[in-house]
């Protein structure tokens, strides 16, 4: 499947790597609504003050992810985790640097955000599968399997806007995991859903990983990173603070945040 949003050219490098990130910088735009006097005419005439600012989100980030890795990406809010995932997916264009991705990437990142609120769960599932390029004749089977995994029952016929946050999380993860990606990118998937579904999600990710797929997951669940990830990446203010063994990276992050193990247990229990 070709993805026309991106350029492809001759690529060299290690074919055992699923993702290569080289000196990556990326940014996003922030609109400030500071209206000047005279109903904003002053701003209109004085464009250098502008109301759109480019905020650097990632700076000179470099790392490699071998095929079959479960990469846990952690960091405080605003550290650049979601921006990193979007640039890895090719949704957000880098400002500098280069990313090479070898394999088919899952098309859904942030749980529930790609779903249409007025449409039913069933319609959203079908659209998700079709956007990814699945043939129409597989839709019935996929819809049944996703509905069953997400434990939606009769709610699959209800509009997505009526779903609880847990149901949205279950559906989002189920769609992404069932699209048969070789590289699965998930943003905050494990923060939604009840304890039973979290266990089911973890099990599914183990299954996908055991099957040799590559998974990159952005999460605040430090225990889950310890339990599931084979590698962890701590992003801080858009830069790589630590990268490597999940226990080492999580410990370093906890030291930085001044969280002790008992406090973490209580936080994640909540």
């Amino acid at each position: 499947m070709s993805v026309p949003l991106h350029s492809t050219s001759e690529v060299e490098g290690d074919s055992a790597l699923a993702i290569e990130v080289e000196d990556l910088s990326a940014s996003y735009l922030v609109r400030t609504h500071t209206r000047g006097g005279a109903w904003g005419l002053r701003n209109l005439l004085n464009r250098e003050k502008g109301d759109v600012r480019e905020v650097p989100a990632l700076r000179d980030v470099s790392f490699d992810v071998p095929k079959g890795t479960v990469l846990g990406i952690i960091g405080r809010n605003g550290a650049g985790k979601s921006t990193l995932l979007r640039t890895l997916a090719g949704i957000l264009e880098p400002r500098a640097g280069r990313i090479v991705v070898r394999g088919r990437i899952s098309p859904l990142l942030s749980v529930g955000l790609g779903m249409q609120p007025e449409l039913s769960g069933r319609e959203n599932i079908r659209l998700g599968c079709l956007a990814f390029g699945h043939p129409a004749d597989q839709l019935e089977y996929l819809t049944a399997s996703i509905t069953s995994f997400a434990q939606l029952g009769e709610y699959v016929e209800y509009p997505f806007r009526t779903y609880s946050s847990g149901m949205k999380a279950r559906l989002g993860f189920a769609v992404a995991a069932h699209l048969d990606p070789e590289i699965l990118l998930i943003d905050e998937a494990l923060t939604g859903g009840d304890a039973k579904f979290k266990e089911k999600t973890a099990q599914k990710m183990f299954e996908l990983c055991g099957d040799g797929r590559t998974i990159a997951v952005v999460t605040h669940g430090l225990s889950l990173v310890r339990m599931m990830a084979t590698t962890a990446l701590w992003l801080h203010q858009g830069q790589v603070a630590e990268y490597g063994d999940p226990d080492d990276v999580v410990n370093a992050y906890m030291r930085y945040c001044r969280i002790d193990a008992s406090a973490l247990a209580v936080m994640e229990e909540d």
Binding site: L88, I91, R102, R104, L127, G133, A136, R213
Partner: protein
């Protein structure tokens, strides 16, 4: 410098390799892009039909509204031009009212294409930020939604055309060709506007005024024959003017002039080319600006 850890997998991966680097205005290969769109054509039809269903799901009459709406519109124009004008329309009264109703129904398609499809990227912001697919899919789906919304209105018009005794001539056979030309124009304008609204948010507000001006600058609520010639010479700059002049000729049983059809075709090709070029050139930076 790169850091790496972990063990290599034994699973065979597909040979897809993608490189993402700063290349903001590079155009994708058009052939590949169109192939990708066609491979996802079911997405276009499903999104359009699901959104129409979704919009009407909270109403009591549901999908019946797609028939009721054009009936009401036709009734209003009939009341204005037949009842209020009384017998003053003379023998041309039937032609007058069929021209207005037909033009309004055909123009509704353009109104939806510009109004809805022109905002399609912003409206599907969630999908654009979180899913990977050729972005033109959502714009094409919105234009297709316009086709689906227009077809019931055209069926209502066909009944009115017969009931009011409007002329049935060979010229009517040109309607499908004009509709295809209109679709090309609509898609071109929709691609242009959906790109512009991503970068210039004010265009969202401007769209309503643009549509209003376009409605009056195009022979929709008046027959083209009533337009003073001093105005008509400026109308060559309105892409929809020759097309709706041709529509009105066909509805009144006359063959449109070759110039009207040719000019419409040239506008359609030009707008489509410009729309595709602008959209593809900026598509990669949509996620940064939505």
């Amino acid at each position: 410098m790169s850091i790496s850890t972990g063990s290599a997998s034994t699973r065979e991966y597909s040979d897809i390799v993608q490189i993402f680097e700063p290349n903001a205005h590079a155009l994708p290969r058009l052939g590949d892009y169109v192939r990708d769109l066609l491979a996802r054509r079911t997405f276009i039809t499903e999104l359009a039909t699901a959104e129409i269903r979704g919009a009407q799901s909270s109403t009591f009459l549901g999908e019946l509204w797609s028939l009721i709406d054009p009936v009401f519109q036709a009734a209003i124009y009939y009341f204005l031009f037949i009842v209020i004008r009384g017998g003053r329309g003379g023998p041309n009264q039937t032609a007058y009212v069929t021209v207005i109703i037909g033009s309004v129904f055909f123009f509704n398609y353009t109104r939806i294409a510009i109004g809805e499809a022109g905002r399609s990227i912003l409206r599907h912001k969630g999908l654009v930020l979180n899913a990977i697919f050729p972005r033109a899919l959502v714009t094409v789906a919105e234009v297709y939604k316009g086709v689906l919304a227009t077809l019931p209105a055209l069926a209502i018009y066909a009944v009115l055309h017969l009931v009011l005794g409007a002329p049935i001539t060979q010229a009517l056979l040109l309607l499908p060709l004009l509709f295809v030309i209109q679709s090309g124009m609509n898609l071109g304008v929709a691609l242009l506007f959906s790109t512009v609204t991503v970068f210039v948010k004010d265009m969202n507000q401007m769209m309503n005024y643009i549509l209003r001006v376009l409605t009056f600058a195009t022979p929709v609520v008046y027959p083209v024959s009533t337009l003073p010639s001093s105005f008509a010479k400026y109308m060559i700059w309105n892409p929809f003017f020759p097309l709706f002049s041709a529509y009105q000729a066909v509805i009144t049983g006359q063959m449109p002039s070759g110039g009207q059809v040719f000019l419409s075709l040239v506008w359609a090709i030009g707008l489509l080319w410009a729309g595709i070029w602008v959209f593809l050139r900026h598509e990669r930076s949509f996620a940064l600006h939505v």
